[in-house]
Structure formats: structure tokens, C-alpha cells
């Protein structure tokens, strides 16, 4: 199913529409309030974009530096060209250490990979521990937002779900539901042999991985099991601790409207001599899976993305249809660019068009990614590859041919406006338009007055 079909269903979903309204209130207003705290926000934003660009311009050298420093502290660094490679590497690590249970903190890269299915089919138990992701795992649904994965669900739905899956009395109070999940998940934290996390940043200088979380599950996943595997995209590397400090002034503000998240955890290698906690084995998997296709040229700017979600929170299309309509892991404007690149333009045909190009996303983006421009670029590519619907291509060709012949163009438009006028009802509205059902199915089309602009303009000059 394509975006257009899914979007129609989502617009009609009253519960979803209520849920999406909350997102706008909290995240959009929260971001504005938290940005106002920074007297030099434009400077910080410029610096953040420059930090990401610096990392990308010499990406191979920074990755090599990260690897060297990580290895020196006892981390095992793996490289994965595809999603299948990631799944295979994690399965191998699990097998080597006799792992039966895996606890996960939120990671969009593992969503890309379908890692949970891959591990479960290898006989492993996988438990998502981020509350939102846990709810989705119980409901067997994909996330609909990269920061607030379960934004499409109401409290009532969560109550029903917990009561059914936990086989427990139905609780309705949100803190009680949170405690119920805490108590269900605590034993898993204490018994799992492997923790899988993402990484918001890789710090080249120190060979560290960094994650930002609020719930504390990320700290558990990276502290308690004997094996920790951090999986992240190659573009996440950042040179220094100072650079990461700058980026961390923007990520929580743009993500959840917080000045800082509850936890920021920087992990460097496995457990050290004398430590009473921490994993004995620490693996990092650096994932390409389509990212190198964006390198070089203007699309490279997309890799500056720090996955804050601000572009979707501010997008009128996302605000109306939610994340599931986009059909893959990444929704909103950033998703409309990443999805066609990662899974092929032919598999995500209408996504580059799932935006009004209003420009809100670019304004909201903390690392100044020109999202509308990149979307326009993708549309061009689609056209070049002949991936546009035939009638759109034919119509544009015909228009192009006519527009180059002014006399003929004038004649054709004169005939057209008169024909349209003749079709109108007495109120001057057209009820149904041949080839224009997309417009007239839901609203009337105002009929033209009967003369073209060129005719009127010509007369006024005469």
C-alpha cells in the first residue's frame, strides 16, 4: 500500500487525530520554550551543523579514529554493509556467549534491520524495555515516531493491552501503568545476558558511544548484562567531547522539549579491573545499509541528522496522518528522504511527494538540513527515472509542448476556460471535473470567469 492510500485511512481515525494533537502541543511548544533559554541559539545551531559537516567531510578518517580508540579500550568494532549483516553479527555474538535473553533499549537502526525477528527466529527471547517500545512489542506494531514511538496510542488502549497481556487487573491511571511495566521489566533487566542499544553519537576522540534516555532503561541495558552490543549508523560519529557538548544543547530541546534528558550515558569499553558492574564484553556495530549512497553531493547534508524528530513534529502532513502512513521506519520529512534512499525510490514512490514543501521542517531542524530542497531533488530524480505516474508525465509533457507555442497556448487556454465556465452550476462552482476527481470528490471547484489572464492583460495594455 502506498502513502496516499494509508494517509486517507489515518485522517479518518479519530483516536489518532486526538493523539497527534498532543504531540504538537508538547513537542512543538516545548522546543520553542527551551530554545528561548539559549541567548545565542543561532550560533549554537550554526556550530552544530558545522560539527556534523566536519565529521562527514572526513568520515572515513573519523571512523578509523573512533575504531582505533574504541579498540584500545577493549571494545570490539564490527562493520555491517547491510541490515542482514547486522542481524548475522548480533546472532553470532549471542551464540558465542551463550545468550538466551536479550534486553533492548530504543534503537531505530535495529528497527531498520528487523533485528527482533531475526533474533527470535534464532530462538532468543527479545524484550524491548523502553516503555513505548515495550507497548509496541506487546501490541505487535511498529513505532510511529522516532522519539515518541507510541504516540498513536491512547491510555485506554494501553490499559486494555496490559490487562490482556499481563493477565492482570485493568489499570487506568498513567503512573500505575508505568509502575506495572517497571515491575514486569525489572526481572528481565536482572536476568538477560545481552543488552542491545543504539548510539546517538560515537565519539572519535575517546572511542565512546553515547546514548540519551529518560527512563533509565538505556543505563540498565548498557550496565547489567554481561554482553553489550551498541548498533548505530556510520554517520553518527562526532570528533570530540566538546563537539558532543554543543550537540547535546540542541538534541533534547528539539526532541522532547527538554533542556536536557534525564540520562546521558557515555560508555567506553567493557568493565574495568575492580568494577562491580558493567558488561564483560562490549561490541559496537557500525552500519552502512544505504548511508554511503547519500555521501558526496548535496544529499550528504541529510547525514547531518541527529534524529531529534523536530521535522516531523512541525510537519503539517505528519501532524495530520501520523507516522504509520509513511510505511517504513522513518516518518515525516526526514523519512521521506531516507526511506527512498535506503529501500529504493521505486519502493517508496509517493514519499517525496508526502510534503507540502512549506518549509517548517527546515526551520525546525537543529542541524539546518534543507529538507524541502532535498525533497525537491528526489522528485527530480524520480522524474528522471520515470517513476512518476504516466498521466502526470503525459500531462506535463503536453503542457511543456504547448507552453513553448504562445499562440497555440493562448487559443487552448481560451477554449479551456470557456468550457469550464459552461460546466459550472448557477453558483459558479463545478461539481465534478473530468481527470480532476482528486479535487472535486471532496469539494467544488470554482469556475473561471470566462476570460484568460492573458486576454485581460492584453486588453488592459491596449
Amino acid at each position: 500500500m502506498h502513502f496516499k492510500a494509508r494517509a486517507g485511512a489515518k485522517l479518518a481515525d479519530v483516536r489518532l487525530q486526538t493523539a497527534l494533537k498532543k504531540l504538537q502541543g508538547n513537542f512543538v511548544k516545548g522546543r520553542a520554550d527551551r530554545i528561548a533559554e539559549l541567548d545565542n541559539f543561532p550560533d549554537i545551531r550554526d556550530a552544530a551543523a558545522a560539527i556534523r559537516d566536519r565529521a562527514l567531510e572526513n568520515l572515513d578518517v573519523w571512523l578509523d579514529t573512533f575504531e582505533r580508540n574504541a579498540t584500545a579500550r577493549g571494545t570490539v568494532v564490527h562493520w555491517a554493509e547491510t541490515h542482514e549483516d547486522v542481524n548475522r553479527i548480533v546472532r553470532e555474538i549471542a551464540a558465542r556467549h551463550g545468550v538466551r535473553k536479550v534486553i533492548k533499549s530504543k534503537s531505530m537502526v535495529t528497527e531498520e534491520c528487523g533485528l527482533n525477528d531475526a533474533l527470535e527466529s534464532a530462538g532468543l527471547e527479545v524484550v524491548e524495555t523502553d516503555l513505548g517500545e515495550y507497548i509496541l512489542q506487546l501490541a505487535k506494531e511498529p513505532p510511529s515516531h522516532i522519539v515518541a514511538p507510541v504516540v498513536h496510542k491512547t491510555r485506554d488502549e494501553v490499559s486494555d493491552l496490559f490487562a490482556e497481556k499481563h493477565n492482570a487487573p485493568r489499570l487506568t491511571d498513567i503512573p500505575a501503568l508505568c509502575r506495572e511495566a517497571r515491575e514486569k521489566l525489572r526481572p528481565h533487566f536482572l536476568t538477560a545476558e545481552m543488552g542491545v542499544s543504539g548510539a546517538n553519537f560515537l565519539i572519535a576522540e575517546t572511542g565512546s558511544t553515547l546514548i540519551v534516555t529518560n527512563e533509565g532503561n538505556g543505563r540498565m541495558v548498557t550496565t547489567l548484562p554481561k554482553v553489550h552490543v551498541a548498533i548505530t549508523g556510520i554517520e553518527k560519529v562526532v570528533p570530540t567531547l566538546e563537539d558532543v557538548s554543543t550537540l547535546l544543547r540542541l538534541l533534547p530541546r528539539h526532541g522532547t522539549g527538554q533542556s536536557i534528558t534525564n540520562y546521558i550515558s557515555v560508555t567506553t569499553g567493557p568493565k574495568r579491573e575492580g568494577d562491580s558492574d558493567g558488561p564483560e564484553h562490549f561490541h559496537v556495530i557500525l552500519v552502512d545499509a544505504g548511508r554511503t549512497q547519500l555521501i558526496g553531493g548535496e544529499m550528504q547534508q541529510m547525514l547531518r541528522c541527529i534524529r531529534c524528530g523536530a521535522c516531523m513534529n512541525h510537519c503539517p502532513v505528519y501532524q495530520s496522518v501520523g507516522g504509520h502512513a509513511y510505511g517504513w521506519v522513518y516518518p515525516g520529512p526526514m523519512g521521506s528522504i531516507l526511506t527512498p534512499t535506503y529501500i529504493g525510490l521505486e519502493n517508496a514512490r509517493d514519499l517525496p511527494n508526502a510534503a507540502t514543501l512549506c518549509g517548517q521542517c527546515e526551520v525546525a531542524c537543529p542541524v539546518k538540513i534543507p529538507l524541502p530542497e532535498l525533497l525537491r531533488k528526489l522528485r527530480e530524480r524520480q522524474f528522471e527515472q520515470g517513476l512518476k505516474p504516466w498521466h502526470e508525465v503525459a500531462a506535463l509533457r503536453l503542457w511543456g509542448w504547448l507552453a513553448q507555442r504562445p499562440a497555440l497556448y493562448g487559443l487552448a487556454t481560451r477554449i479551456k476556460v470557456r468550457a469550464l465556465k459552461a460546466m459550472a452550476n448557477p453558483q459558479g462552482m463545478i461539481r465534478s471535473l473530468p481527470f480532476g476527481g482528486g479535487w472535486t470528490d471532496r469539494r467544488d471547484f470554482p469556475a473561471p470567469e470566462g476570460k484568460t489572464f492573458r486576454e485581460l492583460y492584453g486588453k488592459s495594455k491596449a
Binding site: E57, L241, Y263
Partner: protein, 214 residues
């Protein structure tokens, strides 16, 4: 060819660079690392302690200001009594020798377990800009004590409050050289807003973070 070689050479090819890295590229990277320049810093006022207090309270952390470290056991006992919490806790070794018994607190100096309810820790330093505690892991500073219990009590010395995260890194570079296994920045009790965007304290980590300033 290995995945690593494929990925790295794809990056270079797409950027129009020769396959082998030039010395100048490595030097550029090494020089940037040696300089590790700071980015623009926001204004945070002149009084770091006041800023820290204001920010930490805004994150639902609570603060008690003591005159001397001797007051710690009494302050802990008072805090727990106020909340009706049982005075049974685990702590980092540096606090083991204080007179807990005299205040009726049963204290164990060991690594925290999943069912411990109160954890008492120190802190490496704190950041005024955001009201954040910075914790460094180590044999005597285990992270689990600030994570597993429902209540986390942190002892913070006033002179360890720095302005921004950059200053915290500078302190760490100066005192430790290399990073410990885990650096955790803690900004208030754990929380989630996953259900209906409603902020709820106490997700998987502590429900309460209480700072004793000494």
C-alpha cells in the same frame, strides 16, 4: 574485501578522493583532536551554585544544604523519615565509615542489587547550566547505586559545581586522563512521557533524586 574496507572505500570514492588516505587528512584530524575547540556557550549567569539549584529543582530533584559532612547521616535519616521510607540503604565505600547507626539508618557498603530501595552515592561533579550530576564509574563508584534503587541520594561538594558540560570534561581530562567505562549524566529522577505525552516520574530508574550539598 572486508565490509570495513568496502564501506571506507565507498565513502572515499563518492567524495571523489583517492582510495588511500593522504597524510594531510590524518594531520587535519589529529590537529582538531589536539585542539578540541569549544563551541559557543550560552549565558548562564554569574552564580553557578544559584543556577545549579534553580535548574536541579526544575527537574524535580530535591536539595538539602548542609554545613559539614558530619551532618550527612542525620540529613539522610531526616529525608527518609519525611517520606516515610524505611531507613535501609546501600552506599559507596567513601560513606561507609559515617555514623549511620547513631541515626538509626541500616547501611550496607556494597554494590546495589535489583531490590535495594535506597542508594547513596557521591558525584564526580555537577553542571550548573542544566542542573545535572556527572557520575564516573569505578571500583569505588559503581553506577548501579544511582540506578537500581527507587531513591537516589547524592552527596555533592559545592566546589565541584562547574558551569557547563565542557568544564566537566576538562575536569575529567585533568583528573583521570582517560574516560572511565561509564560516564553518566543524571538530571533528576527517571521519567517517561510515552503514554499520552504525560510526564510520569520513576520509569525504570529512581523515582526520587535528592542532593545533599556539603
Amino acid at each position: 574485501m572486508s565490509a570495513r574496507a568496502n564501506i571506507l572505500s565507498r565513502i572515499r570514492t563518492r567524495q571523489g578522493k583517492a582510495v588511500t588516505v593522504r597524510a594531510a587528512e590524518r594531520e587535519g584530524v589529529a590537529q582538531y583532536l589536539a585542539e578540541h575547540p569549544q563551541g559557543p556557550r550560552p549565558q548562564t549567569g554569574d552564580d553557578a551554585l544559584a543556577r545549579f539549584r534553580e535548574r536541579a529543582l526544575g527537574l524535580a530533584t530535591t536539595i538539602d544544604e548542609l554545613r559539614s559532612p558530619e551532618e550527612l547521616p542525620a540529613a539522610v535519616a531526616r529525608y527518609l523519615r519525611g517520606l516515610g521510607l524505611a531507613p535501609v540503604a546501600v552506599c559507596w565505600p567513601e560513606f561507609a565509615a559515617l555514623d549511620w547507626q547513631g541515626q538509626g539508618v541500616s547501611m550496607d557498603s556494597r554494590a546495589a542489587r535489583g531490590d535495594d530501595l535506597i542508594g547513596i552515592t557521591g558525584a564526580f561533579c555537577a553542571i550548573a547550566e542544566t542542573g545535572t550530576l556527572m557520575m564516573c564509574s569505578g571500583p569505588d563508584t559503581p553506577p548501579a547505586a544511582s540506578l537500581l534503587p527507587e531513591t537516589h541520594i547524592a552527596v555533592l561538594r559545592r566546589e565541584r559545581i562547574v558551569v557547563g558540560m565542557e568544564d566537566a570534561w576538562a575536569l575529567l581530562r585533568g583528573e583521570h586522563g582517560v574516560l572511565p567505562r561509564a560516564v553518566n549524566f543524571i538530571s533528576g529522577p527517571s521519567r517517561t512521557a510515552d503514554i499520552e505525552q504525560t510526564v510520569t516520574l520513576g520509569a525504570h530508574g529512581p523515582y526520587r533524586v535528592h542532593i545533599l550539598l556539603v
